[in-house]
């Protein structure tokens, strides 16, 4: 009868699974030999734009403190705040400041927080490499193109000196903080945008789309432009004071307006006070912010922002009742 063989087969499969698990567990405990001081778990969630920065911080920090497990989620700024205000995460990555609704939710959940600016971003408007005419656009022109119910479908409608070329638009999905920010500063109202463009939550799709059509146009964070300079051209932005190229320098000296934006993390004051591993992770993050931003290919803070970050962090520490700067990891 075959049944005995089946039973044995099943038993072998299950044992195999158990052994695999045991082996995997073993590798982990093996890794924690060279541990630094702190140990514990730190949960971070929030903006997918900021996540690479926090991930690099987590990576570097865990290399020195293998007893600490830092997890970085990407639920989006809004989705992250929802969890953060329930006390489910210790810190939220945010590509825009916290909104009134989220403030109320945090108040209700009893979560106190401190906004810290950790890096900068330049929302970059890109066009195809074949586009020889649109070197510089004014914010009015951008608004004319992107505002709700916009009827502009050809480049010569944007400016009469531009050639007769069909305008094809690509952009981020409506859940993204990038979309919120762009519509806010260009169209004057957060979330107000024409809807007849190709949206994608994946910025690589925007890169593909724009590079593939001569009259294409799209916008996304500076890192994506930096990685794709061979595929798309960045447009200079004129907000009334002449054309400015998006670059780390123009963002840091604040001449790239209004599309230069700060990126934030929102640590929970409670978590800072009760979770020693989180306190030492955040200390590491703030102290090494410049080098972390550089390795994650973000635009670092300028000197004034650095000073502000340090004083905001010290204030948060004292609110949390943590004694001064205690660099557990350095």
């Amino acid at each position: 009868m075959n049944n005995t063989r089946i039973k044995w087969g099943v038993a072998v499969m299950m044992t195999g699974g158990a052994l695999t698990l045991a082996a995997c567990g073993g590798q982990q405990s093996g890794g924690s030999g060279t541990s630094g001081g702190a140990s514990g778990a730190v949960a971070v969630d929030g903006s997918s734009t900021v996540a690479p920065l926090t991930s690099v911080a987590a990576e570097l920090f865990q290399a020195q403190n293998s007893g600490v497990n830092v997890t970085v989620g990407t639920s989006g700024t809004g989705g992250g705040f929802e969890k953060f205000c329930r006390g489910e995460t210790a810190m939220n990555d945010a590509s825009r400041p916290i909104e009134a609704e989220e403030k109320a939710a945090c108040e209700q959940g009893g979560v106190k927080y401190a906004p810290l600016t950790v890096a900068n971003d330049a929302l970059t408007v890109v066009v195809s490499k074949e586009n020889t005419w649109a070197k510089c656009l004014t914010t009015e022109q951008l608004k004319k193109i992107w505002e709700p119910k916009s009827q502009i479908n050809n480049w010569n409608q944007v400016d009469s000196t531009f050639p007769d070329e069909k305008l094809t638009l690509f952009g981020p999905g409506t859940d993204s903080g990038t979309f919120d920010y762009f519509t806010d500063v260009i169209n004057g109202e957060e979330g107000a945008s024409r809807t007849d463009y190709t949206p994608s939550e994946d910025d690589n799709v925007v890169v593909q789309g724009v590079s593939g059509s001569k009259g294409g146009m799209g916008y996304f964070g500076y890192t994506y432009y930096e990685e794709n300079t061979d595929k798309v051209n960045a447009v200079q932005i004129d907000s009334g004071n002449g054309c400015v190229t998006p670059s780390p320098e123009s963002v840091q000296d604040k001449s790239y307006t209004p599309l230069g934006r700060p990126l934030f993390v929102y640590p929970s004051i409670q978590a800072l006070g009760s979770n020693a591993a989180f306190a030492s992770f955040l200390t590491y993050y703030v102290e090494n912010d410049a080098s972390i931003a550089e390795q994650a290919k973000f635009i670092p803070l300028n000197d004034q922002q650095k000073t502000e970050l340090n004083s905001a962090f010290q204030k948060a520490l004292s609110e949390a009742g943590v004694s001064g700067s205690s660099p557990a990891a350095s």
């Binding site: 089946i6 994946d202 930096e226």
Partner: protein, 301 residues
């Protein structure tokens, strides 16, 4: 005046008339349309596989299994935490969903009254549940398992949610397998003095094992490929340690792929494709096991 039989008969047999009603063109055309449909399905699959293999090949190496994800160094980054996370989640899912699903199926087939109102209600609901989009289970898991039961974003939450997702599939396939066991086996067993429990345990379940195992493996392979419900549950996308228990944070392969694909640097897209290969191989292995079990142990009554 109506035509007589003699008037009609010669016309019907006249050469060529039969042919004209059965022209060659639709016959051949239909065949080509069928072949074309098949070609569309197969070529899409072939193109997809070729694309993934070509783009993932450069990073399909040992580092993928031995190293943790890294944002700084995509060149040597791996997916160990995602691979072990998948194993943890799927083994836990199997441990939870298989006994429950099989026992539910045994009840429905062997104990329940198939004409009872309750029975029919349960039956319809199970059929419906099997068709519910997976993201809905994610919402349920987040609201009930992660928050109301306060299990958080852990391996056990993911396993419970995926168990709910695949339970209907396991129940349906196990019922099919049990139904395929002929009544004569049951009658024979009972005639020899076995109780109902003994008959089910010693005769029906072993005879239904190949079908049950096939269904279970296919259900588990569906769970392995799921990303949507786990995204809702907050399977974190950046994690550099293996799970160490049921209450541990975790990530799984589909989530890791999703995360890498949306990164700005090309090196991550190669990594994503390489991890796709791992996922495909795993699914191929499981489906192969299902086919093997079915062919080797299936009984012809």
């Amino acid at each position: 005046m109506s035509p007589t039989l003699d008037d009609i008969a010669p016309l019907e047999i006249e050469a060529g008339t039969l042919q004209s009603h059965h022209s060659e063109l639709p016959e051949k055309g239909f065949r080509w349309v069928l072949l074309l449909s098949l070609a569309i399905a197969l070529l899409t699959l072939a193109a997809l596989l070729a694309f993934i293999l070509v783009s993932g090949a450069p990073r399909f190496n040992l580092q993928l299994f031995t190293n943790m994800p890294s944002i700084r160094l995509p060149e040597i980054a791996g997916a160990q935490s995602a691979i072990t996370g998948t194993i943890w989640v799927i083994v836990t899912t199997a441990v939870i969903s298989l006994p429950v699903g099989i026992m539910a199926a045994v009840y429905l087939e062997e104990y329940g009254n198939p004409n009872g109102r309750f029975h029919r209600l349960v039956e319809i609901n199970i059929q419906n549940l099997a068709a519910v989009p997976s993201i809905v289970y994610g919402i349920l898991g987040l609201g009930v398992i992660a928050r109301a039961l306060a299990l958080g974003q852990t391996v056990i939450t993911a396993a419970l949610t995926l168990s709910l997702l695949i339970l209907p599939i396991i129940i349906i396939s196990t019922r099919e397998a049990i139904r395929a066991v002929p009544q004569s086996i049951r009658f024979g067993s009972m005639a020899l003095g076995a109780t109902k429990w003994q008959t089910i345990w010693k005769q029906v379940l072993p005879a239904a094992t190949p079908g049950t195992a096939t269904g279970a493996i296919l259900a588990l392979s569906r769970a392995i490929g799921e990303a949507a419900p786990l995204l809702l549950l907050g399977a974190v996308t950046f994690i550099t340690f293996n799970p160490n228990g049921l209450m541990s944070s975790y990530t799984v392969m589909p989530i890791q792929i999703y995360n890498w694909v949306s990164q700005s640097r090309d090196a991550f897209h190669v990594l994503a494709a390489a991890l796709c290969i791992v996922l495909l191989l795993l699914l191929l292995l499981m489906n192969g096991a299902a086919i093997f079990l079915r062919n080797k142990y299936q009984k012809r009554w």
